[in-house]
Symmetry: C2
């Protein structure tokens, strides 16, 4: 994999990787500035969430689970002192759908973090990552109702 | 730090972090698709390059070095087998300017990787990262000429 980041101005860089998409990166992101972008650490956190999210939705689609909405939230703590690394992260997988199988969901998270997700596998060597999930049943009225919540602890970390 | 990735369709997610920028992420990026974005591992590689690049340009600007162009290239190798983690990366810092100080440049790289850059600090615990630099002098004609090349080996890794 090859890529580059090219300095534009101040702390703004354009990132270009093999996908061909230009990714702006900025040390001090601000939507108010004309040119700005997310910070590197923000992108690392989003990459972690997206990496495992892609595995999970891919597995659930293969199992024909009826997922109507899916989101992975991430909370990450950093040291106050430089280099301000992440010290802990929590991922929350939030599913909405009809008669979703909790077993299938837990298995999809297991396969992602134990086998498929490279970002998780790398970062879990550096700081602890908690995993939890919430499953909403979408009622006929359209209202969501929590039907299951739980945590997943990778075998490798026990 | 808080963020989330929201499933849009197929393997496409929208990432939203504290900067407020929406970052598209896709398992199988394609500029030909209407909706697509870079992959998580691509973003991790770009975040690594951008993180240290921001430190370096910030330090060189404080030292009033006359950098006219600056780019950090990254090459990363991955395992063929899942989870396809990075096994090695090489960063190349490429500077263009007038009478740039090689000492100042080496010191800026040192400060970034030894002290400031969180993405480097985290990922260097997972796989080896080689660091090298190339300095171009921009002639009066505008033509670039290589005036220095070298490598930097962090003390912590020796």
């Amino acid at each position: 994999m090859d890529g580059s980041v090219v300095w534009k101005e101040e702390m703004l860089f354009d990132g270009l990787g093999k996908s061909g998409f230009v990714v702006p990166l900025d040390a001090n992101p601000s939507k108010e500035k004309t040119n700005s972008g997310p910070s590197p650490m923000e992108l690392v956190a989003l990459s972690l969430a997206a990496c495992t999210a892609m595995d999970v939705i891919s597995i659930l689609q293969k199992k024909r689970e009826k997922v109507s909405a899916f989101e992975v939230k991430i909370h990450a703590d950093r040291t106050a002192e430089y280099p301000k690394v992440f010290t802990h992260a929590a991922l929350e997988y939030i599913f909405s759908g009809q008669a979703l199988s909790e077993d299938a969901i837990v298995r999809s998270i297991e396969l992602s973090v134990e086998k498929y997700c490279p970002v998780y596998t790398m970062l879990a060597q550096v700081f602890p990552i908690d995993l939890r999930y919430t499953i909403f049943e979408i009622e006929d009225s359209g209202a969501p109702r929590v039907v299951a919540q739980g945590t997943y602890t990778p075998h490798g970390l026990e």
